[in-house]
């Protein structure tokens, strides 16, 4: 077995040691329940509120707009279900896209089964959703538009400022799934006029199992969970102090202005080498991508075999929550890739701890594997090449 290289930072990241230190200190010294009114409880509450302020400061939003959740999956569910299930309209309407994360798509489908009308807007071959397509989909009874900022498979960045502007014009609140963009791209939620925004800590070297939903002041939402007054009644349950502290620390450490270019440089270095492989095809608009993700297909190569051949490089087809399922990526499918090409796609994603040596070695192994598998399949029919 060759040395393991982790290039799956879009699935999850390792904890920054400074985040670990903050969490450990909290677990050791701040054990009380933040809802308790006694002195140790108030110390725990203070740690929670400090983390909330750090996160809010990073995003340039008031601290009171941050509602802690168990992650972006829950945030997405809260945003969509919370807006649509108790809406005044008898048949409210949701506009979203075909290329959202499963936690948005599946929630939209579940809402459909409960009487909500949903329009799934298509993307183009580059994975870009045209704001005009979204504008056309909006109806008088549209209660929410939900569009992800950065696609988790391709890294393609949607034009949220333009989409927010058109939603504002039409008086429809916009929800943005920013799980992949916070800390890597600048966000201006209040300037753009975003109503709801989902975040998670574990894509940014913070802990798994904690996230947040930004809820613009004045935006009304029904909770998914009941019991307890925590988080303005929007999210009951004992607050996980150490998790929230970890998220606060992770968000404070992340700086798009510094990390973005560093990640992009690494990603570009990796991408250059991968593109040099014959038959390589970049998936997603080259000039509109978040700095950490590259998604490439390799014609004439089976995806499962390719991933197995480079198994000491941790990469992904689709997203991690789908990687158990053999179906091809719904995102690449929406972009019009053949099953064969979509099947051979690798998503490689860099993080804070990725090195140049690692991306060089990973590219070398991919190139070697592609060549070996192509030789193995010499003479195969054309359909194998997509």
């Amino acid at each position: 077995m060759s040395e393991e290289i982790y290039l799956d930072n879009a699935a999850t990241t390792s904890l920054d040691p400074r985040v670990l230190a903050a969490m450990t200190e909290c677990l050791e010294r701040n054990p009380a329940n933040p809802s308790s009114t006694h002195a140790p409880g108030r110390r725990a509450r203070r740690a929670v509120e400090e983390a909330r302020e750090r996160i809010a400061a990073r995003l340039g939003v008031p601290a009171g707009t941050i509602v802690f959740t168990s992650g972006a999956t829950e945030s997405n569910n809260l945003a969509l279900q919370g807006t649509l299930l108790h809406h005044a309209e008898r048949t409210p309407h949701l506009v979203t896209t075909r290329i959202e994360h499963k936690s948005v798509l599946d929630t939209a489908r579940a809402l459909e089964r409960r009487g909500v009308a949903v329009t799934f807007v298509e993307c183009d071959a580059d994975g870009v959703v045209a704001p005009e397509r979204l504008a056309e989909a909006i109806r008088p009874e549209t209660a929410l538009v939900s569009v992800m900022h950065v696609n988790n498979e391709t890294g393609v960045v949607q034009d949220i400022p333009a989409i927010a502007a058109l939603c504002r014009d039409r008086g429809v609140p916009l929800h943005v799934d920013a799980a992949q963009s916070v800390g890597k791209l600048p966000l201006d939620l209040e300037g753009w006029g975003v109503a709801l925004c989902s975040m998670t800590a574990h894509k940014l070297h913070g802990p798994k199992g904690v996230g947040a939903l930004y809820v613009r002041e004045g935006m009304r939402l029904a909770p998914l969970l009941h019991g307890g007054e925590q988080e303005r009644g929007l999210r009951p349950g004992t607050l996980a102090t150490h998790q929230i502290v970890g998220m606060g620390q992770a968000y404070e450490l992340a700086d798009p202005a510094r990390d973005g270019p560093r990640l992009a440089a690494l990603r570009d270095r990796l991408e250059r080498q991968l593109r040099a492989i014959p038959g390589a095809r970049l998936n997603g608009a080259p000039e509109r991508r978040a700095p950490h993700i590259v998604n490439m297909s390799f014609s004439g190569v089976d995806g499962e075999s390719l991933r197995f051949a480079v198994r000491d490089v941790a990469v992904s087809s689709g997203s991690a929550c789908m990687s158990d399922s053999p179906e091809a990526s719904h995102v690449l499918g929406a972009m019009g890739l053949s099953d064969a090409l979509a099947g051979s796609a690798l998503r490689l994603s860099v993080g804070r701890f990725t090195t140049e040596r690692e991306v060089d070695e990973a590219a070398r192994r991919v190139a070697e594997a592609v060549e070996r598998l192509r030789t193995l399949a010499a003479g195969a029919p054309a359909w194998c090449s997509g």
């Binding site: 197995f308 064969a340 194998c384």
Partner: protein
């Protein structure tokens, strides 16, 4: 997907992957594929004196596909041509712990080998039967 050690070994170094030199005599070949299953395989068998002297394959597909093709090629080598009639891909599936949902891919290898068999029959003008009407060859 988890892969057993036998799949790993054969996928990483499939000793019988490749082609038999075009000038070699007595070579038959056969292909099988299924686009929906994402599998293609081609076998080449070099036969002399009723015995399969060499078996080689090319394959497009998942690691189990590659490993199974290699397993089958190895199994055939050194066996009399009648072995083609007795061959049962489920034996490869068992040896490699191929998950049930992938058995369809292995059946395409039976197809490819059936083509080889028919080519041999056409050449010899008679049918290849199992020598003992069902007894399996011991594994060597």
């Amino acid at each position: 997907m988890e892969y057993g050690s036998e799949v790993l070994r054969r996928f990483d170094a499939p000793l019988r992957a490749g082609e038999i030199e075009p000038e070699a005599p007595g070579v038959v070949s056969g292909e099988g594929d299924d686009r929906a299953l994402n599998v293609w395989v081609r076998f080449q068998l070099e036969v002399a004196d009723g015995v399969i002297r060499r078996a080689r394959f090319r394959a497009f597909g998942c690691p189990h596909t590659v490993a199974a093709a290699d397993w089958l090629a190895e199994w055939l080598e050194g066996r009399p041509v009648q072995a083609l009639a007795e061959l049962d891909v489920r034996r490869a599936a068992a040896a490699l712990e191929v998950p049930p949902e992938k058995l369809g891919k292995l059946l395409r290898m039976e197809d490819a080998l059936a083509v080889c068999r028919r080519a041999l029959e056409a050449r010899n003008g008679d049918r290849l039967e199992s020598q003992d009407g069902g007894r399996r060859w011991p594994c060597h």
